[in-house]
Each structure stands twice: as C-alpha cells, then as structure tokens.
C-alpha cells in the first residue's frame, strides 16, 4: 500500500481509535506505583547509612521493602506506563482499535490487582506462613504453600498469583495482536518489536516463575533464573521501549527514521542473540563453562546490535540537533539513549570473566541496574508522558519550568547515583580481592552510600515536581 493509497483510505477519527481516558488511567497508576517504589528505594538507601526510619517494624523490614521497590518499578510503573503508551501507539500505527475496549478495562483493573496482591504477598506472606491452615492446605494439595515471595529476583510474585498474571499477559497479547494482524502492508519496525514483546514477555514470565518452582532445581534452576532476570529486561522492557522510540522520535522530529532497514537489523539481532545471554549473571558458578561462554558471546553480539540502533537514531537527529535542546520529550528520549549506549558498553565489559572477578556481588551491579531501569526506560517513559499528557488532557503543561526541573533532577540524579555505585563496586571488589574483612568494605562504602541517598532524593524530588505538575494540569482541565 503506497502513501497515496493510504491518503485515499477512510481515516478513522483518532478519538474513535484511541481511548484517551484509559491511557491516562494507566499513566496515573504508573505514577502511583513509581511513588511507592521510589519511597521503598529511599528507605533502603537510608537503612544502609544506619538511619532506617522503620526499624523494628517486621512488616516493613528492609528485605521486604527491597522487593516492593523492584517489583513496583517493573510491574507497577514500567508495565502500566508501557500499557498506556501501547493503547496510544498501536491503534494509531495500525489504524485499528484494540480487540475489545471492555477487555482493555478488564486488563487494567486485573493488572492493578495483580501488582497489589504481589505487594501484599511480599509484605504479609512471611508473617502468615506459620498459620496452621497453611501447612494443612499444603499437605492436602501436595504443593508448597509459600505465601510470600518466591526466591527469584524479580520473580518474587507469590506462586498463587503466577497463573493469574500469565492469563493477564495472554489477554494483553490478544488485545493488541488483533489490530496488528489487521494492519495492511509491510509492518513498521515498532510493530515488530511490540509483537515480539507480547510473545517474549509471556514466555519469559512463564519460564522464570514456573520452571524453578515446579520442575528444574539446583544449579539448573539458577541457569533458568539468570535467563529470566535478564530476559525480563531484554525481552519485555527493551522491545517495548525501543518500539516506542521508533514510533515517537520520527513523529516528533517530523522526519522518518534514518534507515528502516537498519532498524530491522537491530530487531532481528535482538531476537536471535538476546535470549541466551542471561547466564552472564552467573559467571564462575557450577553452570557449565560453555554456557557461560555462550552468554558472554551473545552479550557482546547484542552490544553490536545496540550500536546499529544508536547510529540509526542519531542519524535521524542529524541536522536537527537543536531539537535536543528545545524539545523536552526529545531530550528525554536521546538522554535515555546515551545512557543506554553507556550501560550496554558497560555490560559488554562486565560480562567478561576478568571483569566479573572484580565486580561480582558488588554495588557496581546495582549502579548498572539503576542506569538501565531509571536512566533509560523510565526516562523514555517520562518523555512519552511529557509529550502525551497535554494531548490527553487537551491542555498545555501547568508549568514548563517544573517539566525542566523534573528532567534535570532525574537525569543528573541517576547519573550521580550510577557513577557513585559503580565506583563503590570497584572499591568493594578490591577490598574483597585483598581478603579484607567484610566489615572493612562496609565501612568504606559509607561515603558512597551517603552520596546515593542524596542522588536518590534528587530523583525523587524531580518526580514530585512531575506529580505536582501533572495534578495542576489535570485540575486546570476540570475547571474549563
């Protein structure tokens, strides 16, 4: 179908294509969960500098808060914000509505219930575990009845929620795949990424939450766990994030992506090289070395793929560099891309066995994780929200200055936090390699952890600016 043919097509009015109210609801839910997650992060940071404001409260012990922090950001913030953006982008890309509006609202409510029940399981589960009825039910049903978190990073969702979450992911896939299947002509790269994400997220979630719980055990379960942790980033968050960038950047710059062919090289490279690299989280473990080497090779291959993607986006910006300064969403997007390139470069180094000897189990990894999840994907989603919220509410932002504060506090805060923790990781690694007592490395980490508190507070302050701005923009609308 040519562009001229497209023009002659009957255009469905955008208000009939996109349910703007639902997009807005998803963004509100995402913000609520990010607020909770960031509070959890600050509590954790305070605990590490011996100033835990909730000391002595079992329900809010740091181990539980930490899981709230990570799960709220992954399933509460990122998933909700992505779903909101998908409800905007997929109908406009395909010119077809989602499969069912009623299903969309059901998924919205079900997903919030899943995230809240996960939080309830993580916080309350261990306290109820010793009840007699739990042991009895476990005996009668012949299954483990661990009410609290499952023992897998990012897979802590209690086992009784897993089937519901999987059903939710299946419904999400059906709801969005129907319009994509109806789209005519060669698909734009964004839709390839989205399709892959729907399949991968379901498979990754099933692999990580079901296999170690019910089938494989021991080190083999560790290998699966490694795949799960990394595939959740690379096969759920990454394809949705890049898919949205390929959609929003060209329409904001009013020019097509530099090379669509190159973007497809990036997509298929991700498809074939990403799924195997998760085991790089478990180098120097009893997992067979050939699997560890395979993970290292596929990780480095993915870094090459990432380079093509970054070249393509900067090729698109070429000649319009001023947009990086003047256009706030573009600034969010491209700052996130610079951080993405840095984090991938860091990744290709840290997966080598030489590097792992030094940084394994240190705060280097924590710094890397924050750079990826906040510096890249959260910043992209902030950019998407900064662009879409005025369109959804049909009003300009209440304060452009607050938007700028949000950007600068977030971008600078995460850069300081990541650099600080990465450096802390190097120090910790050398302390351990020198066989210093554990306490020595903990004491030496204090300046880094104090710096982390302030960096986190800056990021939190930026987000509060955004929330206040969002609220004021929304309130102004209701008075019209």
């Amino acid at each position: 179908m040519s562009a001229a043919e497209t023009r002659s097509e009957e255009i469905t009015p955008p208000q009939d294509l996109v349910d703007t109210r639902l997009v807005l609801w998803y963004f509100v839910a995402a913000c609520v969960f990010l607020l909770i997650s960031m509070l959890g992060g600050i509590l954790m940071a305070l605990q590490l500098v011996h100033w835990n404001p909730l000391a002595g409260l079992e329900l809010f012990s740091p181990g539980r808060w930490r899981m709230i922090h990570t799960n709220a950001v992954a399933y509460g913030f990122l998933a909700n914000a992505f779903l909101g953006a998908l409800h905007w982008a997929v109908p406009r890309l395909t010119m077809h509505r989602v499969a069912s509006q009623a299903l969309s609202y059901f998924i919205f409510l079900a997903w919030q219930a899943i995230v809240l029940l996960t939080a309830a399981g993580v916080v309350l589960g261990p306290s109820f575990q010793d009840q007699a009825w739990v042991a009895e039910a476990s005996r009668n049903l012949g299954i483990s009845m661990s009410l609290g978190a499952q023992g897998l990073e990012w897979g802590e969702t209690p086992f009784w929620i897993d089937p519901v979450a999987l059903l939710g992911l299946l419904l999400v896939a059906v709801n969005f795949m129907v319009p994509i299947a109806k789209a005519k002509g060669p698909l734009y790269v964004t839709l390839w990424y989205f399709m892959a994400a729907f399949v991968w997220t379901f498979l990754t979630y099933a692999m990580g939450n079901l296999l170690p719980e019910y089938t494989v055990a021991g080190t083999s379960a560790g290998a699966i766990g490694g795949l799960f942790i990394h595939d959740l980033v690379g096969l759920f968050v990454t394809p949705l994030g890049w898919g949205l960038m390929y959609y929003f950047v060209p329409i904001m710059l009013q020019r097509p992506i530099w090379s669509h062919g190159l973007s497809l090289v990036g997509f298929w490279g991700l498809a074939f090289f990403y799924p195997l690299q998760g085991i790089h989280h478990f180098l120097y473990t009893p997992i067979p070395m050939f699997l560890q080497h395979g993970a290292i090779i596929s990780t480095i291959a993915v870094e090459l793929v990432v380079t093509t993607v970054v070249i393509n986006f900067f090729g698109t910006l070429w000649g319009q560099g001023r947009a990086f300064v003047d256009n706030l969403p573009i600034r969010w997007f491209y700052t996130g891309m610079i951080y993405y390139f840095l984090t991938c470069l860091q990744c290709s180094m840290q997966v080598t066995l030489t590097f792992q000897k030094l940084i394994h189990f240190t705060d280097w990894v924590v710094g890397h994780a924050h750079l990826v999840m906040f510096g890249v994907f959260s910043m992209w989603l902030f950019g998407v929200m900064t662009y879409l919220i005025p369109r959804l509410l049909n009003r300009p932002w209440y304060s452009h200055k607050l938007c700028e504060w949000h950007f600068w506090l977030s971008a600078a805060g995460v850069l300081v936090m990541a650099s600080d923790l990465i450096l802390a990781g190097v120090f910790q690694g050398y302390f351990w390699a020198a066989l210093q007592p554990w306490d020595v490395s903990v004491v030496a980490s204090q300046p880094f952890w104090i710096t982390r508190v302030f960096a986190g507070l800056a990021m939190f302050g930026g987000f509060l600016c955004f929330l206040y701005n969002f609220w004021m923009t929304w309130s102004a609308r209701s008075h019209v």
Binding site: T6, I11, P256, V265, F290, G294
Partner: protein, 109 residues
C-alpha cells in the same frame, strides 16, 4: 571535470545508496561474527550432550532458547516470503503520512 548533479532527486538517491551500504555493512559486521560464535558454542554443546554428564544439565536453557529462536526463525521466513522486506523503507514514510492524517482529523473535530 563534470559538474556534480546537486538536484534534490540526486541527493535523495545518493542518501538512499548510503543508507543501503551502511545497513549492509553493519548487518554483515554483526551477523557473521555473531553467527560464527553462536555456531561454535552450539557445536560444543552437541559434543557435551553426547559425551559428558554436563550435557543433560544444559538441555533446559538451550531448549528454551531454541524454542523461542525457532519460532522467530519461522516468523522471519514467513515475513520474507510475504514481501515484508520487499520495499524495506516504505513503512517509515507510511507512519508519518498516517500521523499527519490523524492529527489533521483531530484538528477538524
């Protein structure tokens, strides 16, 4: 020396050629070493499965990978057979055309 044709059509043609060459160069630079590394590791795996106890241990993650990648290989073949990559740059223009139409329709509302 003949004058270089600076017409917009010629510039666009040269730009398209540059894009094609960069795409092909990067595709080759990425795919060949990556496939070489992957094939080597897979060959090692086959030897392990046959000869050592470690082989059985590694079946679960490898099968996971093959199931996912096999599906995507089939998708790639299907997409190629159905002309999804025939006019590879067209979708990026269609995207902008549609967005312009949608925005125009929104303004008319």
């Amino acid at each position: 020396m003949p004058a270089v044709d600076q017409s917009p059509a010629n510039r666009s043609l040269r730009s398209a050629r540059l894009r094609t060459r960069v795409t092909l160069a990067l595709a080759i630079a990425i795919l060949i070493p990556s496939m070489y590394g992957f094939a080597g590791k897979f060959y090692e795996f086959l030897h392990l499965v046959r000869g050592e106890s470690d082989g059985a241990f590694a079946v679960a993650p490898i099968l996971n990978y093959l199931l996912a990648s096999g599906g995507f290989l089939l998708l790639l073949l299907w997409a190629t057979a159905n002309g999804m990559f025939h006019d590879i740059e067209r979708p990026k223009h269609t995207l902008l055309d549609r967005e312009q139409q949608l925005d125009a329709a929104q303004r008319r509302k």
